[in-house]
């Protein structure tokens, strides 16, 4: 069941588009904002609200990098693996993150604190290497900086 808040927020998008189907990406993001990911039953509920099949919705969901169809940790770390960051040593920073957290890219720490995933260029290449944690972008990464930054995400 969509919560009343989720439903209200999705319905508030309706006037911004000429049909309901166009709202589906926003709808999935609204659910994800509250639950961390988009579970199957939420797809069914969104489908009912927007008049779309679950298959259609899942086809859309799986196209996009920022919609999660599996649970993630409390915080999501997105490490940029694109070219400028790579030149500036993102492999090493990524290796450091993996080691510190004890997980590989695509995994979540056993305590559910962090999920580590790669992301394409975050548009901050003049401050490479770069990562994003939840909504914050972090620049000019070094192992020591990474350690300090992680402490801010309990």
């Amino acid at each position: 069941m969509l919560s009343p808040e989720e439903r209200a927020e999705i319905e508030a998008e309706f006037p911004h588009y000429p049909n309901r189907k166009a709202v589906c990406i926003d709808a999935m993001k609204i659910v994800q904002k509250r639950r961390g990911w988009v579970p199957d039953e939420a797809l069914a509920d969104i489908g009912e609200l927007l008049g779309m099949s679950i298959a259609d919705l899942d086809g859309v969901a799986t196209f996009y990098n920022l919609i999660f169809r599996r649970p993630v940790g409390r915080h999501v770390i997105y490490v940029c693996d694109s070219v400028s960051c790579w030149i500036m040593g993102s492999d090493r920073q990524c290796g450091h993150l993996s080691e510190r957290l004890g997980i590989q890219l695509g995994e979540t720490t056993p305590d559910g604190r962090f999920t580590l995933i790669p992301i394409v260029c975050l548009g901050a290449c003049d401050h490479a290497p770069v990562m994003m944690i939840d909504d914050d972008t972090h620049f000019d990464l070094t192992p020591a900086r990474i350690d300090r930054i992680l402490e801010r995400y309990p």
């Binding site: 996009y64 070219v83 030149i87 260029c121 994003m132």
Partner: protein, 423 residues
């Protein structure tokens, strides 16, 4: 008095966004007032005369694009600002979005009026959280002052403007992929024709422009086409947001006359190479442009001249390759990106890119085979314009084909030595 850096002059040094009051004090929204007293056709003519070319990468003449919306085209008509900026190595639109959101809004209001637009969308990549907050705020300020909405400044013209946050995929930046994304679909591109000005978003006439393109519109209307042409050192008018990343002393972004040479950008503005690193080459404007090398450094950075040198200016943000970075590794990284972001529609793209990525990975890991280079070069020909549905595959071909040309020896050493010499 007209600024020589119309895009960045009024940005606050502390990095905060220019709010409406400060934007207005600097003359902001004056161009919109002026535009509303002109006819839409007059604005299109002025923009044509300015020689403004699209800053999204392809350099399409903006005034000409606007004139493609038929005069008696049906309504509602749409205008979409392409703020997807997912091209690796590109970080110019983020500056405008975060620091000068009203410039984009004013540019869209004028572009909207010129094309008879009823509804505009700012298609923003989802990761640009700070930009999203600042644009949302600026939109509210603009609505409150009557610069947006029904009957803008009492002119009788009205446009709604909405912010749309993407869920992330490079293909959303391709203009018809973007239209599908806005309609709540997968961002596969559409067959053209029909072109978006005739049948675009929700099947209605639609104009799509890059953020930097739209930000150039208010200064053109305010100061005139001749002034705009005069800002440039070459044939393509205006200034350009240029950037550099990689092992240079001062990676960054600068608004400079269009046609500033690559050498000047690299040596003066980026401060040259970091100590201990030598220049080997660069991608002039993002991941999907051909490498240029030493012999090209005196090329003026504009659409015309960079093309003559065998590449494309693209987004104008250069990615610099140094002598301690492996060109094969770099090409692998780039090809990995394109293979991952392929939408899967055309075989040469989804299959060929994946194959090329595996070959490059093997080479980098010491498993290269004789004949790999010929096969890779042969493969890039299938990605040329005309073989695929959209420009992603042709873009992917550019760094690879040029790397094979300029860094051939490095590729060969990987194969003959059976290892990456940089590891």
């Amino acid at each position: 008095m007209a600024a020589e850096k119309p895009l960045t002059l009024n940005m606050r040094p502390d990095g905060a966004a220019l709010d409406r009051a400060a934007y207005e004090r600097a003359g902001g929204y004056g161009a919109l007032r002026k535009a509303l007293k002109m006819s839409p056709a007059e604005i299109v003519e002025e923009v044509k005369a300015s020689t403004l070319r699209g800053r999204g990468g392809a350099g399409f003449p903006t005034g000409l694009k606007w004139s493609f919306v038929p005069v008696n085209a049906p309504h509602p008509r749409y205008l979409v600002a392409n703020a997807d900026e997912m091209e690796p190595g590109t970080f110019k639109d983020r500056l405008l979005l975060e620091r000068n959101p009203h410039l984009l809004i004013e540019g869209m209001a004028i572009a909207g009026y010129a094309t008879g637009t009823d509804v505009g969308y700012i298609f923003l990549r989802g990761e640009y959280k700070l930009a999203a907050a600042r644009i949302a705020n600026a939109l509210a300020e603009a609505y409150a002052a009557g610069y947006l909405g029904a009957n803008i400044l009492g002119s009788g013209y009205g446009m709604e403007l909405r912010l749309h946050l993407s869920a992330g995929r490079y293909m959303c930046g391709e203009e018809t992929g973007m239209l599908n994304a806005l309609e709540g679909k997968r961002a596969n591109p559409r067959a053209k024709p029909p072109f978006p000005p005739v049948s675009g978003l929700f099947g209605k006439p639609t104009t799509i422009n890059n953020v930097e393109t739209l930000c150039n519109v208010p200064p053109i209307v305010a100061n005139g086409a001749a002034w705009f042409r005069g800002l440039s050192r070459g044939k393509d008018g205006g200034t350009k947001l240029y950037g550099a990343s990689g092992k240079v002393n001062r990676p960054g972004i600068w608004e400079l006359p269009m046609g500033t040479t690559i050498r000047e950008l690299l040596e003066e503005h980026a401060g040259g190479m970091l100590d201990g690193f030598r220049f080997r080459g660069l991608l002039p404007g993002g991941a999907s442009t051909d490498f240029l090398v030493e012999q090209h450094l005196d090329t003026p950075m504009d659409f015309t001249e960079v093309q003559k040198a065998g590449s494309r200016m693209g987004t104008g943000t250069m990615i610099v390759l140094d002598d301690k970075t492996c060109p094969v590794g770099m090409t692998w990284n780039l090809t990995h990106f394109f293979a991952q972001e392929s939408c899967g529609w055309c075989t040469p793209c989804w299959s060929g890119l994946g194959w090329a990525e595996r070959v490059l990975k093997a080479m980098e890991e010491g498993q290269g085979q004789p004949g790999d280079l010929e096969k890779l070069a042969f493969q890039t020909r299938f990605w040329a314009p005309g073989h695929t549905f959209c420009a992603l595959a042709p873009g992917a071909a550019e760094p690879l084909q040029s790397a094979l040309k300029y860094f051939r020896e490095d590729f060969e050493r990987h194969i003959t030595e059976g290892r990456c010499p940089w590891r």
